[in-house]
Symmetry: C2
Amino acid sequence: MTEKMEKYLEFMSELEKLKTVTRMNRTLDPGRQENSAEHSWHTALIAILMQGYLPEKTDINKVVKMILIHDIVEIDTGDTYLYDEEKRKQATLKEAIAAERLFSMLPEPHSSEFLNLWEEFEAVETLEARAAAALDSLQPLINHNVTGNGNPRGMTKTKVIEKKIFIRDVSPELWNLAEHLIENAVKKGLFSDE
Amino acid sequence: MTEKMEKYLEFMSELEKLKTVTRMNRTLDPGRQENSAEHSWHTALIAILMQGYLPEKTDINKVVKMILIHDIVEIDTGDTYLYDEEKRKQATLKEAIAAERLFSMLPEPHSSEFLNLWEEFEAVETLEARAAAALDSLQPLINHNVTGNGNPRGMTKTKVIEKKIFIRDVSPELWNLAEHLIENAVKKGLFSDE
């Protein structure tokens, strides 16, 4: 095996660890939380299906790639809960260090490509990064409506809207869908109506 | 919300179920088996990384899409163990019925597109379907080398090679990698050396 292939194998083996990084949301398996690998798969498929509601010039293949890659840094940092402001501030630097370590395991051109795609996603400026961020923000609403059970962290509708409202600027149709899901979650008692 | 978006939402919610479909292989979470959603994520990333070892004209975006979609039918049928010949024969018809039910939940053009992509994957004839099949067959070897523990089903090297040898016709480099992983698994006692 070439040295290059050895590097690829090491990285592809490292990816296994993302399946152990749990998120706040649940799955339909009793008691099991969703992990970042299955979240990424779900979000990538949502991207493909929602393509028609994204700005016309959006490169959907780049969005899908970005989504598949976006959480790899959590192998080192774990997932940071969206509503934990303090932890999110600290997470930024830690995630940049993780990106450096993880993507430098790869041979070029993939090392630079993955790092650049991840940095582009984090900056949320390009069409593709904004679409990926919107879809990444939509998926938990879909998941939560299917798997949610009560409101253990006392989440309010206002807080959720505050975090997700940027979806409206990416796509009014996706924001309609998000609003529908948020209202539905309130009806189910997953968020309080405040 | 439009009727079209309602259909999308129903399908995107249905996808949640794939996270409960377990495979024979394990994860790094103690006692937890891998599910088909995280397997699909892992395989899609492996496809992106191994692109340079696939035949030149392979449409990598189509391969990635195919991989993201290929196991959705297991929502209805469950995963069928590669080495269970009897069950695999019965699985073919059941999976076709599942594809019909699941993909017809989607509005057009996605309904036809997903069904066609899945059928193309199953037929293993086009460049993209052959690449997707090879990568789908490679991922468990990578996962198994990281997470495997003993040889509870008495798997032999010969049986594994018989099932995976088609990778060689897709890509000699991927077959080299597969061989390396199989030899490594024998050394670790995950397959017997027969």
